[in-house]
Symmetry: C2
Subunit: 94 residues, 2 copies
């Protein structure tokens, strides 16, 4: 199993819009990606957003990035992000 | 729901011993903490260890820290850690 920590750079004042688009995406991931086991939006005490993600394997990560819902979400995020995400990929130790 | 990212500082050469102790602790968490929803040991490409954790609420985090299995694990980790963990606490956005 593989894990991803995605730190997202949201523009100040756009938090509410961002959360709506991201939670819609999370719902689509949960409903359409059998290879995804976690896709959880979190917010730290400083207001920074992080998505915690777990995938069955590399194929499941590729399927996520290639999915229609993921590609379609790009339009929703337009104007909400202050910069690129910071992605950390990890392997799950079992 | 609450999330924790715990970055763990493992001494070089102690990785195998650390994984055994940590996976035993993770099994105890999974078997004994109904308020914990995720306790997943991960390793990044540089060999750094991270535990991704999800809890129902503050009470569940307190129950984790106060549990006999958590307190007992301290002896197992003795000599394996290179410094204190770096803990990030977050709220889950739902």
């Amino acid at each position: 199993m593989l894990a991803v920590i995605a730190k997202l750079n949201v523009k100040a004042g756009k938090e509410e819009d961002f959360e709506k688009v991201m939670l819609d995406l999370a719902a689509a991931v949960n409903n359409n990606e059998p290879g995804n086991h976690l896709y959880q939006l979190c917010k730290d005490a400083d207001g920074n957003y992080v998505v915690l993600e777990l995938y069955e394997d590399e194929e499941a990560i590729a399927a996520h990035g290639a999915s229609e819902h993921f590609k379609a979400s790009g339009a929703g995020f337009k104007g909400l992000m202050g910069g690129p995400p910071e992605i950390t990929r990890m392997t799950v130790v079992e």
